[in-house]
């Protein structure tokens, strides 16, 4: 199932608003200007999503997950691409932690940051909808790309979930930068993925259509 250009533009608009909020919150948290931008948005199936995250081999990825339930259920993932996740933490925190392993506290920190970003997305995403959502708390995950992007692996307790559902994803690529990175043209890519079931996707399309017509 595809979204047409108009639908995509509308979504992008919402997400960009959310992104502005997230950057604001992050900047305040780390007392440093953080810039977030959204260079890419696509609706893809599982296989394409895996190809887009482009991690080499079966390397473990680090992600923050927020599951949302209700009439429209799915999961939001912030995926830090392999090896770069702590670079991001360092960029955000200006901290110099040993990089070999992620300690419990470091996981918490990443969770905190991921939560802020995902909240921004989810609030701008849900704000316009008539649907009521319920959100589960943010979680820290380590998994390979394949299972991370597989909706059935997330054990969503959706009411009418179809078992042989073909999962679909919004795929959002995002750049993280600090003001210094901007000067040095450094940026760190991250991915926000919203995973929906086929069924949820239909519901979503209806909602978007409603919003567009209401504009």
């Amino acid at each position: 199932m595809e979204l047409d250009e108009l639908e995509q533009d509308a979504l992008k608009e919402f997400f960009n608003m959310g992104l502005g909020m997230a950057a604001d919150s992050l900047s305040r948290m780390v007392k440093k200007e953080i810039l977030l931008s959204l260079p890419q948005l696509a609706v893809v199936d599982h296989r394409d999503a895996v190809a887009l995250v482009d991690n080499k081999g079966n390397e473990q990825l680090v992600a923050v997950r927020q599951i949302f339930l209700g009439d429209l259920c799915g999961t939001a993932l912030l995926i830090f691409p392999g090896g770069k996740s702590l670079e991001l933490v360092r960029t955000l925190l200006g901290d110099d932690v040993p990089l070999e392993t992620l300690t419990e506290l470091e996981q918490d920190t990443l969770l905190d940051v991921g939560n802020v970003i995902l909240n921004a997305f989810l609030s701008s995403f849900t704000q316009m909808m008539t649907i009521e959502f319920e959100f589960e708390a943010a979680e820290f995950l380590k998994a390979d790309c394949n299972s991370l992007l597989d909706i059935s692996a997330h054990k969503l307790s959706c009411p009418k979930a179809d078992k042989i559902d073909n999962s679909q994803a919004f795929f959002l690529m995002m750049d993280f930068k600090t003001a210094e990175d901007e000067l040095k043209h450094n940026s760190l890519r991250g991915y926000v993925v919203l995973l929906f079931s086929e069924q949820a996707m239909i519901k979503l399309k209806q909602e978007i259509a409603r919003i567009i017509s209401g504009l």
Binding site: D95, P98, D108, D112, F133, F135, A137
Partner: protein, 900 residues
């Protein structure tokens, strides 16, 4: 609490929340606290009665406008969850662990989870607080420990590096005295020695050489550790590498009676670019090991190309032995530094245990791998590959000169199958038709058949039943003279042994295993070519002298070296080959000397006081006139990059200390072109004909040695002999007189006289007399022994020498004088200055050769008024008073207007 339909259920759930190990707070739509569990009471020290109904900011004003409040708003308005981490929101609530006093203690570390719960009339907010104080302190401890480990690691790394540097420095420092030991041993071998001394000396030599090998290993290893080992990329011929390997290994395989063969596949390019020395080092190391662990059988080096392109080749080398072999466990540890197969073999076979780990590293630097296959009791095969570039214009260097040689029929008799196959392959590489057989008998049977004809026959020497010599003799007996093919004996045993055994065997040449292509080629050319080439080859093998060395005689070398002993070693090595040597002890002197005299080459030490070799070279090169003067660095500094530094400073070449005499000569031959020789070869040097007046059949005087020792100047030698005869004619009577008188002063006097005479006897080559006089001299010096028997022996030896010298009676004294005095008139000031400077240098060093130099100078200046002063110097030299002699010389130089 609204919402629970069943009182029992709601009571149960509430008590669970009460007892939770986390803090739990409910906040309603109006932001008011409606639930405050027991954990919150204990950690905040605020009872629920006090707080229920208040807003959070009323209870804790410090929370206003914090992420806590933002999270609660998000939860109440949209149901969005918030996680507040310790790092980003540090201890937001004023909570303390139960036992701690809040006025003095730190707040507990917290993680705060805020979430919204959807209800009919909007959202309710739950705040959960976790105590993570333990986690935080555990992580702080972990971080601290990690830092400590990092520091310790750094310290260990530095210590290890310091150790590596120390090793490198020490092995460098050790090389300098090693140079003296090896050089002096070499020189000592050239003096008259009795059997015992020769035996001791050869043991010193072999110990010194093996010590040097160990030091080299350690140095290489420390360079590898320090990442300072570099691989060269220079054009070379693989056959030359094998030739060097053969030179080093054959001595050992000879001793143990092992076969040693090279087998080179036809597909393997030989003209390559890479590091021939390092490649040779790996092969020598593996072959040495193979020999060490093999008591009978063979060692075979096999070489083939794995992959050949126009630009590069991957060559597979293997060294196979029939030795004790290795177990699986031994193989696993083999390539690690400092390990050997096991402790017991270490004791039996020795070694540093560094060789293989060095080889492994070297192989890796040549983009190859090294591995081993082995069966205990059967043998081992060490394999390695190396990737080498190929030179552009590859030509087969060993092309037969004439087409008529193509397809010659060759009969090959060798009992060892491996060696036979290899020889067959080698011969086939030359396009010959080879018939291999396993014994002399089979060879003879074939030769006897009327319809079979061979052009060449290769016969192994050591064969069971009928050995090579018998086979060759049989061939000669059986076949008519005209039908006898060219016969070549193949042997794994050393040249001397073969030469003695085959002196009268009718054959055309012999071939020493392992047979490299170049050796085979040389042999074939000598056998198939004309007679001149044949004799040249046979003659050559008698004399292993460095090629072209003869042309060096008469060359003038400036030796720049600050170490006295090393200077002496190098000087004598050079003088022994008829070179004229001037010395300088630092760069400054070297520059001055080069400006003043014309040299054929400069041998330059690098580290010297005042001015080092680099700087001296730069200063010399700054003059247009010396831009082509060969300057060769001599240094114990073998760290990588040093040879580059030498080249950068303008030097032509580099020779490492300690040097083998042959290396030194090779280097000089390479850099001194005969045509560049500016001075004529002086009147008489090594090449000069033996003086007419000198009998060649002296028994008690080794005239050859004597002549060599004074640089081949026969006229001077004859004169010295005559003087010796005159001076010591009545010596014994004088000695006897003093001896009979006794008394300390008399003893001292005899001691001095005998000491002097001992030196002269050694110089002229009267070695027996030299020995006898030394013994007497020592007895007199120590005073512990009755000198009488020694004096008797001494008298006898002196008598013999003097008797022999009687036959010099006829020499025309004037001829001798003119022989030396003739050039005197021609002596220009420069030459005279050179003489005097040389004498000064010799005196400075306390060198006994000063006497010879003085004699020559005296002869040159026989008509000159200063001659009487020279006589004074002679007396002073005789008294070993070199300092005074030098002062006198200084004065003479002043008279002659020569500045020293």
């Amino acid at each position: 609490m609204a919402g629970f339909e069943n009182k029992f259920e709601s009571d149960l759930l509430l008590s669970i929340l009460e007892k939770s190990h986390d803090g739990i707070v409910f906040i309603n739509q109006q932001m008011r606290i409606v639930f405050w569990n027991r954990w919150m009471e204990k950690t905040s020290r605020i009872d629920r009665e006090e707080i229920i109904g208040k807003t959070l900011t009323e209870a804790f004003p410090e929370l206003t406008d914090t992420r806590v409040m933002l999270g609660i708003e998000n939860a109440l308005s949209r149901g969005l969850p918030t996680t507040l981490s310790h790092r980003l929101t540090n201890r937001p609530f004023p909570l303390f662990q139960p036992a701690l006093d809040p006025t003095v203690s730190e707040r507990m570390c917290q993680v705060v989870y805020i979430s919204g719960i959807r209800q009919q009339d909007g959202h309710m907010c739950v705040v959960q607080i976790q105590d993570i104080t333990t986690v935080v302190s555990r992580e702080q401890l972990l971080r601290h420990q990690t830092e400590q480990l990092e520091i310790a690691k750094e310290a260990a790394f530095n210590a290890n590096k310091a150790k590596g540097d120390f090793l490198a420095n020490m092995s460098h420092e050790i090389r300098t005295p090693m140079n003296a030991i090896i050089g002096m041993t070499y020189l000592l071998f050239k003096t008259p020695l009795d059997d015992k001394q020769r035996d001791y000396l050869s043991k010193v030599q072999s110990a010194a050489t093996s010590l040097l090998g160990i030091i080299n290993d350690i140095l290489d290893f420390s360079k590898i550790e320090a990442g300072r080992l570099e691989i060269e990329h220079i054009p070379f011929h693989l056959d030359d590498v094998l030739h060097n390997v053969s030179n080093l290994i054959t001595i050992k395989t000879d001793e143990k009676g092992l076969e040693f063969c090279f087998s080179i596949a036809k597909n393997c390019p030989l003209v390559l670019i890479g590091d021939p020395l390092r490649l040779g080092q790996i092969l020598v190391n593996l072959a040495n090991n193979a020999v060490k662990f093999t008591s009978s059988g063979e060692v075979i080096i096999h070489i083939e190309a794995d992959e050949v392109t126009d630009e590069a080749v991957s060559i597979h080398f293997s060294v196979k032995d029939t030795g004790i072999g290795l177990t699986k466990e031994q193989i696993d540890n083999l390539f690690q530094a400092f390990t050997q197969a096991d402790a017991s073999t270490t004791r039996q076979y020795g070694g540093t245990g560094l060789g293989l780990s060095i080889s492994k590293r070297l192989v890796e630097m040549m983009a190859g791998t090294i591995w081993v296959e082995s069966t205990p009791g059967v043998g081992s095969t060490f394999h390695f590959t190396a990737r080498l570039a190929r030179q552009n214009a590859e030509r087969r260097r060993f092309r037969l000169p004439k087409d008529e040689y193509v397809g010659l029929r060759v009969l090959l008799a060798d009992d060892n199958p491996a060696s036979r196959d290899i020889l067959k392959d080698t011969l086939e590489a030359f396009s010959f038709k080879v018939t291999p057989v396993a014994s002399g008998k089979e060879a003879l049977a074939l030769l006897r058949q009327p319809d079979v004809q061979f052009d060449l026959v290769f016969v192994d020497w050591r064969m069971p039943e009928m050995d090579g010599i018998e086979t060759i003799e049989e061939i000669n007996r059986l076949l008519p003279q005209s039908k006898i093919p060219k016969i070549i004996m193949v042997t794994a045993y050393s040249r001397e042994e073969v030469l003695n055994a085959v002196k009268d065997v009718p054959m055309d040449s012999f071939l020493l295993k392992p047979v490299s292509l170049s050796i085979m080629y040389d042999t074939l050319i000598s056998v198939l070519g004309d007679d001149a080439a044949k004799t040249a080859r046979l003659a050559k093998s008698h004399d292993m002298e460095v090629k072209g060395l003869g042309s060096l005689a008469g060359a003038r070398i400036l030796l720049v070296e600050d170490n006295d002993i090393n200077r002496q070693v190098a000087t004598e090595l050079l003088q022994a080959k008829g070179l004229t040597v001037d010395t300088a002890t630092n760069g400054k002197e070297a520059v001055t000397a080069v400006m003043r005299h014309t040299y054929d080459a400069v041998l330059m030490d690098i580290q010297m006081p005042e001015m080092d070799g680099y700087e001296a070279t730069r200063q010399i090169r700054a003059h247009e006139a010396f831009k082509d003067l060969p300057i060769i660095a001599m240094t114990a500094n073998v760290l990588s990059g040093d040879s580059d530094k030498c080249i950068a400073a303008g030097m032509n070449g580099h020779i490492g200390k300690p040097f083998e005499p042959d290396d030194l000569y090779h280097t000089l031959v390479r850099w001194i072109k005969p045509s560049e020789r500016l001075t004529q070869p002086p009147k008489s040097r090594a090449a000069a004909p033996v003086h007419a007046a000198l009998p060649t059949d002296f028994q008690k005087i080794d005239t050859k040695a004597g002549l060599r020792r004074i640089g081949g100047n026969a006229a001077l030698y004859v004169k010295m002999l005559a003087e010796f005869r005159e001076k010591y004619q009545d010596f014994m009577e004088i000695v006897r007189k003093y001896l009979s008188q006794g008394g300390e002063s008399n003893f001292k006097e005899i001691y001095r006289m005998i000491h002097t005479m001992s030196g002269v006897a050694g110089t002229i080559g009267a070695s027996d007399l030299h020995l006898a006089s030394q013994r007497l001299e020592h007895a007199l010096r120590d005073g512990q022994q009755d000198p009488e028997p020694l004096a008797e022996a001494f008298q006898l030896k002196l008598r013999e020498v003097l008797d022999e010298l009687k036959r010099l009676a006829d020499i025309d004294n004037s001829a001798v004088d003119s022989g030396i005095a003739a050039p005197a008139a021609l002596l220009d000031k420069e030459a005279l200055a050179a003489h005097i400077e040389k004498l000064a240098a010799l005196l400075e060093n306390g060198d006994a050769d000063a006497a010879i130099e003085l004699a020559s100078l005296k002869a040159s200046l026989s008509e000159h008024p200063v001659n009487t002063d020279l006589a004074i110097i002679k007396r002073q030299i005789d008294d070993y008073d070199y300092d005074s002699a030098r002062e006198t010389l200084q004065r003479i130089a002043g008279t002659l207007k020569i500045t020293l």
